[in-house]
Subunit: 692 residues, 2 copies
């Protein structure tokens, strides 16, 4: 496997070795030794014959044995030559801890490019530069090729991070809370070995059960999306620096609706990566994924000996999407025969603080056997007057006889260390705070939900490719398509638009209105006139010729500054809801497609969902159903239900349009009038960028 | 002070004492002894001459010395007699740990009432029943009158909770993380000594710097509001059981907009109590309040030696309302001369991992001296190659020379225990996760914001009390006021409503429309016809007599099922925004007043804010300004700005109306048409309940 030289090297050189106890190379040597690296370590130093008690070598080429991996801690400008020397020696990979590269500006970036080239030419894979390094906790091949301080504790979670600080934060926490890690990768500037490459490697590692990822920016979002979509282990991601990403938000209407870091969410969602908001939450979830199989669904049974803890877990979990049905009738009968009379048989099932091992055993068994539940959360305190070790043993015994995940929240302290140890040795995760346990449970449920979604290939609609190309060719210098071209592009993709006529002056406008039939809508058009309704450029419900004439006069006066003022007329369309579908290019990724409430309320309501194009029918359906206003689309409060298929199809067609035409950087169908019969776009705006 | 017998008793009896090591009375004796209670302990047992090594007494009355406090752990039905005996003995307070009272149903509630009566008659204050007890960590008077297991560690946070489980969860966490508590109260059913009484007691306790409160329900929301409004120490509250509260949500439109537990939030907000969503968050905040003075504002300086940690803290803190301006020019100059060249001088100020004591000292001093900031958060890692103890000493030294709060996030483990100890001894709180630190910082900022708000007494508008009473007297049997009475009640309180006429049949309707002037709005009215627009009972923009006639005909057909159909006509009102003001009675508390986006979009948009009546001008202003759609009211996107004073006045007038008339249980002004000049209620609905 391609990254073996980094995670399972047989020998390691330290180029730039040092005796100084507080230096990075010295600490790396200490870490390698203290954590049991099993091969030779070769310090390389230009003059010293030995470093600490190790024989040193003047150059990498003088090292007698084979070298799989070399740490490089030398002045940044020396790095390219060192890499070439490593190539001559046959070193397979180098970890460049040295900084002073891309992170410092243009000059550093040029140096980094040279390093990358040198590596490629010499056949040496490069880790970093400006990085911590990597670690492997496999007891067969322990490796602490890193200068940090977290204890190495073998576990099943592999951690990959750009930002060394956050990786260390997570790793150190997992170590101190007894959970540990499997492999660890902090590869800084990542000029060669990439994060997706590392994750793909771990997907094949039998010791890795789940992957924790921290990223501050995507070097190549396309590669990320492509590679991660094929990984079948749970990937839990933390994306920080949301404010930085926010600055990239595009300026158009629909684009402006996206939260700062929404494109990250879209990439994660498309790749099946679970996003978390904080380091602690990702640690909690990782603990659950590292010990429990994902559940089949999100129906959670809670069992407790302290009601208030279960209530807190419920408060946290329900808004995160867990479901808490009551036990089945049969289960309730079982519980009645097992528990004391005062227990609550609803969910959470409350056994009171005096419940002992036999009560827990019976209740855990009954709840895990119940078809109503996909997983079990036990929230408990360890009272002085209960045999808590017995309780722990019974929970482990019964849980192992079932397939469903079991998690615990235990209010206790180190007087009950042996109780916790029984649970942990039995493979069950425990949490201190009810909310932590509930979030971990919710993460398992969210994963189950994500994996259960059917994913079909996006449908290809028959379109008029020639007409579409012709429409796009009409783009003006500023990239905007003239309104007529925008409408015909939509039509070429089978998107229904409102019939329209154009007119110059009142007479033509009245004639056009007669053709369309009253009442009509009148819109002023002129170059650079974008948000028409804001400047009095839109009149609706014009019932007769006089009304049209009056409106034309009013707009002509109000917009006299626009020399070439023309007018667009459309019939008044009635429907049940005003919606929008839009698309925005995301550089390096593709396009996000938006669906939501439309009309002039867009910016106030912000009831919009996004998805990366192309959009499958399931994705489109999910978008339509997940806006807050969805109940209004299905006929709530006396409204008629709109035809949802028209909306999901519209979303898919827009997804196909921008996939076929990556040069479209911005597309807005807003408003779309949806009715029982159809969904018609009233306004179409399209902007293209040449050379995309 | 009234609760001295519970928190500073000089002698304690254990009524129902037991030798059994796993029994509650035995554990209480152990806890009292192990934690250094300084007075005599008198076991009371009907037959045994001694319990453990203590002389036992047959009854409380046989105890030789004075008894301040007695634990009662006997069969529930025996409790009233025991309380009476305590009264005869002169016991000042009893803690009834025994359960089997109100929590078990009607029979238990009757027994509890008897206990309460017995206590009152005998002059004995009662704690509980069905409770843990109380604790005092004051080294002068240590008291562990409780059967739980959390270590007693003196601190400055006092904890009060209904649910013993949650109190123990918080207390045990604070103990294990070295923060500790001052006093602890878990009083279960609270039949006599109430939570507000305990909090008022702590407000006078010099050792209590902040109060943590957990409540599952309010016994007396009015008392809670009254007492807590007068407490001047920070009160941090955790309210669980939100789903239970949700069930109480009232059925009306405006009431239906309140989230399940919104009334709790309103009570807390009115009383100046800070609400937290989870036990961990409240512990984090308590740690900050127990060590730092509240800041003057919410402008946070961040200083870091690891950029990614500060970024995570920023990501968490900014959405919670912290502000992060850049350092002043003068500060940047100071930082430049102090730090290495590679540091970032923006906020967060990044000194890189190699920064030593002198760099930290200079930067902390410069940032704390900067007028741009109200407090400082340092996020740091403890690298092997830095004198971290020196860093800690410098931070403590410089922080103590300034008045502003300083908090730290430290990524470390127990190898650096001495570094953390220097910080803690220096009075500075440290957190492990950046998000924890950011939440604690945000809590301090939120408190500063809350305290800085001017609070004036609600204004009293001149009203027509007689007309109001007359209108309310017209309520129908179902409590609803007839539309005309509702409108005149509004008018009596100076609330502008749309002129209206009523008509039976098309001819009358046309005549009324002529009086009002075209175009008009027509609304069907009949008994039991509530959501008119849902059933085709509303027509707008009727431009002439024919249109009115056609609409009357259509509605008469559609609503033929309603025998006494009449019609309401109003002139079409034009404005910039449709808003709502409403009020809903909250039993035992008063009324919540609502302000938000109105019209038919109400339920989709849910852009509404609430406040308990009466509403001061500052509160009304805050409500109006905090709806999401507020920018639209100030003239965003080409709209005209509406007259905000009209809106704030409307909210205050409604607050006065429901305060004057508690029998009003539901009031809706929706829509209110707001314009540049005024705000006019188009529809007024009022329901009263007799006997309130």
């Amino acid at each position: 496997m391609s990254l073996e030289m980094f995670f399972r090297p047989k020998s390691i050189a330290i180029i730039g070795a040092s005796d100084h106890p507080l230096s990075i190379p010295n600490r790396i040597m200490t870490n390698l030794m203290e954590h049991g690296f099993k091969g030779p370590i070769y310090p390389v130093h230009p003059s010293k014959p030995f470093i600490r008690n190790f024989t040193a070598f003047k150059s990498i080429e003088e090292v007698p044995g084979e070298v799989d991996l070399a740490h490089v801690i030398v002045r940044n400008t020396m790095v390219p030559d060192i890499v070439r020397a490593c190539g001559r020696k046959g070193v397979k990979g180098v970890i460049i801890n040295t900084s002073g590269f891309k992170e410092t500006g243009d000059k550093g970036a040029a140096l980094e490019a040279e390093v990358k080239r040198a590596g490629r030419e010499a056949g040496v894979r490069i880790w970093g530069p400006n990085c911590q390094g990597c670690m492997n906790s496999d007891p067969e091949a322990p490796l602490y090729a890193n200068f940090t301080f977290a204890r190495m504790r073998p576990g099943h979670i592999s951690i990959c991070a750009q930002g060394g600080g956050v990786a260390e934060l997570i790793n150190n926490h997992l170590a101190e809370s007894g959970i540990g890690f499997r492999m660890y990768a902090s590869n800084g500037n990542a000029c060669d070995v990439s994060i997706p490459e590392i994750i793909a490697y771990w997907n094949e590692d039998p010791g890795t059960r789940c992957i924790v990822l921290h990223a501050e920016s995507f070097a190549d979002p396309g590669e990320f999306l492509r590679v991660l979509s094929r990984v079948d282990k749970p990937i839990l991601a933390l994306k920080s620096g949301t404010s930085e990403i926010g600055a990239r938000a595009v300026s158009s209407h629909t684009g402006g609706l996206m939260r700062g870091d929404a494109s990250t969410d879209l990439i994660f969602e498309k790749a099946g990566v679970m996003r978390f908001r904080s380091a602690q939450e990702i640690c909690e979830a990782a603990q659950a994924f590292a010990t429990q199989k994902p559940p089949k669904g999100r129906r959670v049974a809670m069992l407790t000996n302290t009601g208030s803890l279960a209530i807190m877990a419920t408060d946290e979990g329900v808004p995160l999407g867990i479901e808490m049905p009551d036990p089945s009738e049969a289960t309730r009968e079982k519980l009645k025969s097992t528990l004391m009379g005062i227990a609550s048989l609803h969910n959470p099932v409350d056994m009171m603080a005096t419940a002992g091992p036999e009560h827990f055993a019976g209740a855990v068994d009954a709840l895990l056997a119940d078809e109503n539940f996909d997983l079990l959360l036990v929230t408990m305190v360890t009272p002085f007057f209960v045999d808590t070790e017995g309780v722990a043993r019974e929970i482990v015994r019964v849980a192992s006889a079932h397939e469903k995940p079991v998690l615990l929240e235990v209010l206790t302290n180190d007087r009950w260390a042996s109780t916790l140890e029984i649970l942990h040795k039995g493979g069950l995760p425990t949490f201190y705070f009810p909310e932590s346990a509930a979030r971990a449970v919710a993460a398992l449920c969210r994963y189950a939900e994500m994996k259960s979604r059917t994913r079909t290939a996006p449908r290809r609609f028959t379109i008029d490719a020639e007409a579409a190309a012709g429409s796009i060719a009409q783009a003006r210098d500023d990239g905007w398509l003239p309104p007529r071209a925008a409408a015909s592009l939509a039509a070429a993709y089978g998107i229904a638009t409102v019939p329209e006529r154009r007119a110059v002056g009142a007479d033509e406008a009245v004639a056009a209105a007669r053709e369309l039939g009253f009442p009509v809508v009148l819109k002023a058009e002129a170059e650079g006139l974008l948000h028409k309704s804001d400047v009095g450029g839109v009149a609706v419900g014009l019932a007769d010729a006089d009304a049209v004439r009056a409106a034309v006069d009013r707009m002509s006066t109000a917009l006299a500054a626009h020399p070439k003022l023309t007018f667009l007329l459309q019939p008044m369309i009635k429907g049940e809801a005003e919606l929008l579908v839009g698309a925005t290019a995301i550089p390096g990724v593709g396009h996000s497609v938006a669906f939501g409430l439309g009309g002039t309320l867009v910016e106030i309501v912000r009831d919009v969902r996004f998805c990366l194009a192309p959009v499958s029918v399931e994705e489109a359906d999910q978008m339509v159903r997940s806006i807050r206003a969805f109940p209004a689309l299905t006929g709530a409060r006396g409204r008629k239900a709109v035809k949802l298929e028209c909306l999901t199809e519209l979303v898919q067609r827009v997804g196909q349009l921008v996939t076929d035409h990556p040069e479209v950087v911005e597309l807005d169908l807003n408003p779309i009038i949806a009715s029982e019969a159809d969904a018609v776009a009233v306004d179409v705006r399209v902007r293209v960028e040449r050379g995309r």
